[in-house]
C-alpha cells in the first residue's frame, strides 16, 4: 500500500452496542496531495469519519490505515502527529490561556525548537488574519475568530493530512475564501492531503474529488462535475447543487444546448460565448 494515504477498509461503526450503525461498510482512500471534499446530510456520518481518522474513535469492524499504519490505541500518538483536525465547534478545542499559547500547544507535542515555534505562530496567525489577537484569551473571541485560531493551530503544526470539519461555517465569505486559498498555496509547496467536510457547494466544486455520504454509506464517489450532474438524486438525499449547475440545468430546459456540465462561472460563460458566436 502507498505510504502517504489514508485508507478506510470496510469500516462499520456505532456509538453503543445497542444503537444503530452510524457507518456501514465504508471503504475509500484519500490519496497523497489530494483535495477531497466529503458532503452529506446532517447525521450521515461525516464527523464520525473524521474522528475515526485520528483515533478519537475506533471502528467495531474494518480497519483504518494512515500512511500504512493501522489506527489502533497503540498508534494514535503517531497518527495524530500526521493528521491535523479542525472541528465545527471551536469552543471545545482551546487549551491555552491565550491565543498564542493555544497555537503553541499543538507544536509542543511535536518537539519543535523554540525559534521555529515563534516563527510559525506568527506565520499561521498571519495567515488567518488574527495576528492582533495573539495575547487575547480564546474564550473572549467571536465564533468566527475562534474558528480562525483553531485553523491557525493546525497550520502551525503543518501535518501531512489536514481535516476541516465544517471549520469555516462561521466565517464571512472572503475570510472563507482566503483561508481555503492559504491551504491551497500550502498544498502547492509541499506534500499535503486536505479533506474538507462542508456544506458550501461552491467550495466543493474546487475539490479534486468528492465523497457523498448518505445514512452512513458512501453513496457516491467522483469528480465534482460527475457528482453535481446528479441534481435530482442529490436533492432526494438532502443536498443541493451549486448555483452554476442549477442555472445550467435551467438553460438546457430553456432550449440551449450546453456541451458539458459547467462547474464554475467561467465555464458557463464560455458555453454562453460559444452559443453566442455560433448562432
Amino acid at each position: 500500500m502507498e505510504k502517504s494515504q489514508i485508507e478506510f477498509r470496510n469500516v462499520s461503526f456505532r456509538y453503543h452496542d445497542d444503537s444503530p450503525w452510524v457507518l456501514k461498510n465504508v471503504s475509500f482512500t484519500i490519496h497523497s496531495d489530494e483535495w477531497l471534499a466529503i458532503i452529506g446530510h446532517n447525521g450521515s456520518g461525516k464527523s464520525t469519519i473524521a474522528k475515526l481518522m485520528n483515533g478519537l474513535l475506533f471502528p467495531q469492524e474494518g480497519e483504518i490505515y494512515v500512511s500504512g499504519e493501522k489506527v489502533v490505541p497503540e498508534t494514535i500518538w503517531d497518527v495524530r502527529k500526521q493528521v491535523g483536525m479542525v472541528f465545527q465547534n471551536p469552543d471545545n478545542q482551546f487549551v491555552g490561556t491565550t491565543v498564542r499559547d493555544d497555537v503553541a500547544f499543538g507544536m509542543e507535542n511535536h518537539g519543535l525548537p523554540r525559534e521555529v515555534m515563534v516563527e510559525r505562530i506568527q506565520e499561521s496567525l498571519d495567515a488567518v488574519g488574527m495576528q492582533e489577537y495573539e495575547r487575547q484569551e480564546p474564550h473572549r473571541l467571536s465564533g468566527g475568530q475562534k474558528q480562525r485560531v483553531a485553523i491557525a493551530s493546525v497550520l502551525a503544526v503543518s501535518p501531512k493530512y489536514m481535516i476541516f470539519d465544517e471549520a469555516t461555517a462561521m466565517l464571512d465569505p472572503k475570510g472563507r475564501m482566503e483561508i481555503m486559498q492559504t491551504i491551497r498555496d500550502l498544498q502547492s509547496e509541499r506534500s499535503l492531503s486536505v479533506v474538507t467536510i462542508t456544506h458550501d457547494l461552491r467550495e466543493v466544486t474546487q475539490a479534486d474529488r468528492v465523497i457523498v455520504m448518505n445514512d452512513g454509506e458512501v453513496w457516491m464517489e467522483g469528480t465534482p462535475r460527475d457528482v453535481f450532474s446528479k441534481k435530482n438524486r442529490l436533492v432526494e438525499i438532502g443536498l443541493d447543487t451549486p448555483f452554476v449547475s442549477k442555472l445550467a440545468e435551467e438553460m438546457k430546459s430553456a432550449g440551449l444546448p450546453l456541451s458539458r456540465e459547467p462547474l464554475n462561472h467561467q465555464e458557463l460563460l464560455e458555453e454562453l460565448w460559444t452559443l453566442d458566436s455560433t448562432r
Partner: protein
C-alpha cells in the same frame, strides 16, 4: 416593536490591557415588522449588537430603545424580564444549550420559567413544535437522540414558545445541510409573516440576506458601514469586498455576463429559471449587444 440604537458603544473588559471597543458610536433604527439582515466580517460586532436586544449586555455609552423598553449606559433596567419575554434570541448553535430529558420539557422551559400556567404552556409547546415542523411523535424523545437539524428545531421551538414579538437570529443555519438550511429559512420567513414579527438575522449567506431581508445593515469594526434595501446594497461590489463581504452569486455572475458579453441583465429578484430564459434570449439575439 420599533428598535433604535442611539450612539451606542460597547467596550469589553474596560480599563484592562484587553480593553476592546466592539461597538463604536452606533446609531440606526429598525421599523416594527421589518426583516433586517446584519452582515459583516468576523469580529465586526454582530453578536455583541444582538446581545443588546434582550439586555444580555448593557451599552457602555448611548441608549438602546426596543418598543417601550430602554437600555441606557449606567442606568439599571427594571424591566429586563419583560423585555426578554418579548425578544426571542436564537444564539449560534442553539442546540448546544438543550439540557432537558425530553423535547417537550425543553420547549416548555422558557414559558414555565416565566410563570405561564400549565395548560397554556402545553398549548404553546404544541404550537411551537408545529411551527418548526417537529413531528409530535418526537416530543417525548430525548433531544440528544435527534439529528442536528432536528435539535436546532427544538431549540428554536423553545424560543418561539415564549411568543416573542421580536425574533433575533444569530447565524441560524450554520452547520445545517443544504435542505436543512432552506427549510429553516423558509420557516423563519413564514413565521415572520404569519406572526408579524420584527426579525433580525445575522448571516454570512449573502444569498439569504438577498432573499429574505427587506433591509440590510453592514457592520464594520463596530460601526455602521452601509445600510439600505438589498438590491441597492448588493450593487456595491467593491464597497462590500473592502469589508470582507461579497455580492450574492447570482449578481456576481450577471456582472461577469455584462463584462464579457456586453449585455446587461439587471437583477430584480428573478428566479433561476427566469434568468435562464433571459440568457437564452440573449444568445438567440433577442437582445442587442451594446
Amino acid at each position: 416593536m420599533d428598535i433604535r440604537f442611539d450612539k451606542v458603544s460597547y467596550v469589553y473588559q474596560p480599563n484592562s490591557p484587553f480593553e476592546h471597543r466592539a461597538l463604536n458610536n452606533l446609531s440606526f433604527s429598525i421599523e416594527s415588522g421589518s426583516f433586517v439582515a446584519i452582515i459583516g466580517h468576523t469580529g465586526s460586532g454582530k453578536s455583541t449588537l444582538l446581545q443588546h436586544l434582550n439586555g444580555l449586555v448593557q451599552p457602555t455609552d448611548g441608549e438602546v430603545t426596543i418598543g417601550p423598553y430602554q437600555l441606557k449606559a449606567g442606568v439599571k433596567n427594571k424591566q429586563l424580564r419583560e423585555l426578554r419575554e418579548k425578544v426571542g434570541v436564537v444564539f449560534q448553535y442553539p442546540e448546544h444549550q438543550l439540557f432537558e430529558e425530553t423535547v417537550a420539557k425543553d420547549i416548555a422551559f422558557g414559558p414555565e420559567n416565566f410563570g405561564v400556567d400549565q395548560e397554556e404552556v402545553q398549548a404553546r409547546v404544541k404550537d411551537a413544535a408545529k411551527a418548526t415542523q417537529l413531528d409530535n411523535s418526537l416530543l417525548d424523545r430525548s433531544p440528544f437522540d435527534l439529528s442536528g437539524g432536528q435539535m436546532r428545531r427544538v431549540a428554536i421551538s423553545g424560543v418561539l414558545a415564549m411568543n416573542p414579538e421580536v425574533l433575533v437570529l444569530d447565524e441560524p443555519t450554520a452547520g445545517l445541510d443544504p435542505s436543512g438550511q432552506r427549510e429553516i429559512m423558509e420557516m423563519f420567513n413564514r413565521l415572520h409573516e404569519e406572526k408579524q414579527l420584527t426579525t433580525i438575522l445575522v448571516t454570512h449567506s449573502m444569498e439569504d440576506a438577498l432573499s429574505y431581508a427587506d433591509h440590510i445593515l453592514i457592520l464594520n469594526h463596530g460601526e455602521v458601514y452601509r445600510e439600505g434595501p438589498p438590491l441597492d446594497i448588493f450593487k456595491q461590489k467593491e464597497a462590500l469586498e473592502d469589508v470582507q463581504l461579497d455580492v450574492p452569486e447570482v449578481i456576481e455572475f450577471l456582472s461577469k455576463v455584462k463584462e464579457q458579453h456586453g449585455v446587461e441583465i439587471p437583477y430584480e429578484g428573478q428566479t433561476i429559471a427566469e434568468l435562464a430564459k433571459e440568457l437564452a434570449e440573449m444568445v438567440r439575439g433577442g437582445r442587442d449587444h451594446e
